[in-house]
Symmetry: C2
């Protein structure tokens, strides 16, 4: 093997191909993600995952051992990416209204992405069987978003821009207002996804109400 190959062999010792071909392991993970998120844990069969990945069932068991281990690998691995694009929007905005507006749009964008909704639904349904998974999901997703917003609101209060005596509560309720009815409908699989105009109205109303409620005296 060539000299630069050293950086790429963090998993295998005896690989012969120099280009890291899409490994069966990754194919399995990808297929499992799709099948689990679409069907839920119980209704997803290992046969379906094997078929989707183009491998045999035994190959899956050789890699992951059992169904619940595979499920855990999928759900935890992707939990980090949830709501990751949120923080940048807070610090750079010229004024408060624009900052809240931008943050709200990113939040709804992430929250209403089909994969995020499916993930939420599955984690929720299986929270009894996988409690630690629900915990990780909560902390890396909803909790993190609320903490970031709370920190921003606390800074606004300290700077005298707004009056926010209880930033944690205010952050939680603001994000709750943003979710409003839309998210429930989405989780229940009802009706059409919200249009751009719906988003505009929702964000404008939530931000306006928040600024009205917390304006400095």
């Amino acid at each position: 093997m060539g000299p630069q190959a050293a950086t790429a062999r963090d998993r295998h010792e005896d690989v012969t191909e120099e280009r890291s071909a899409p490994s069966k392991r990754d194919a399995i993970l990808d297929a499992a993600r799709r099948v689990f998120l679409e069907a839920g844990y119980g209704a997803a069969s290992m046969d379906a995952i094997a078929r989707e990945a183009g491998v045999s069932k035994q190959t899956i068991y050789a890699h992951f051992g059992a169904k619940d281990a595979l499920f855990g690998a999928i759900m935890v691995a992707r939990a980090d990416h949830f709501l990751e694009p949120l923080p940048e929007a807070v610090g750079d905005a010229p004024d408060v209204a624009a900052a809240l507006d931008g943050l709200s749009r990113r939040y709804l964008e992430v929250l209403l992405a089909p994969e995020a909704v499916a993930r939420f639904r599955v984690v929720m349904a299986e929270s009894g069987r996988f409690p630690e998974l629900a915990e990780v999901f909560y902390r890396s997703g909803p909790r993190r978003a609320a903490d970031r917003l709370a920190a921003y609101l606390a800074a606004l209060d300290a700077g005298g821009v707004l009056r926010v005596p209880d930033p944690e509560m205010a952050a939680g309720q603001f994000l709750g207002a943003l979710r409003g009815d839309i998210f429930i409908r989405y989780l229940l699989g009802l009706g059409e996804p919200p249009t751009e105009a719906d988003i505009d109205r929702t964000v404008a109303h939530a931000v306006g109400a928040f600024l009205g409620a917390h304006r400095a005296r």
Copy 2:
């Protein structure tokens, strides 16, 4: 049979007992409700329901025909009771703050009842398989609560008490703020249920913010 028996025999023709003993049918419905809500549709077995009800599996099939029919009977039957105690709180209250306060407490009380949370979770998880069930649940639960509140807010706006130009949106976002973080945590099965003090703080904050945002000029 006696003359008064006529009113009670809307289902049976050949009953011999005069007191309506807890029928097997009701025992099945009750057991099915418990098992379905605890385990979810997929993980709930007909064997478990039969055991819990103290009857044989065949008795269940004689009454309901199939698993999905039994599930539908359970979930739809109880959907009416969801949020039923809400409307009274609106009209009688002396002032707006007290009305919103009372309504908020009832809403959270109903929403955080263990059975309501379990129902929400199950309907959500099975919304793909039973779309019409999700629709009925939504309309009789979340939607109804939001509509009632919106009508009240529209009346306040018309009376000049508050300024609420978009009552539907305001109602949805107020209820969303009320759910805030608590409901998500609850759905994910995390941590302790909220204490009385938590409820007090949550309601006070949401009502205070709402009044601040929508006060008449």
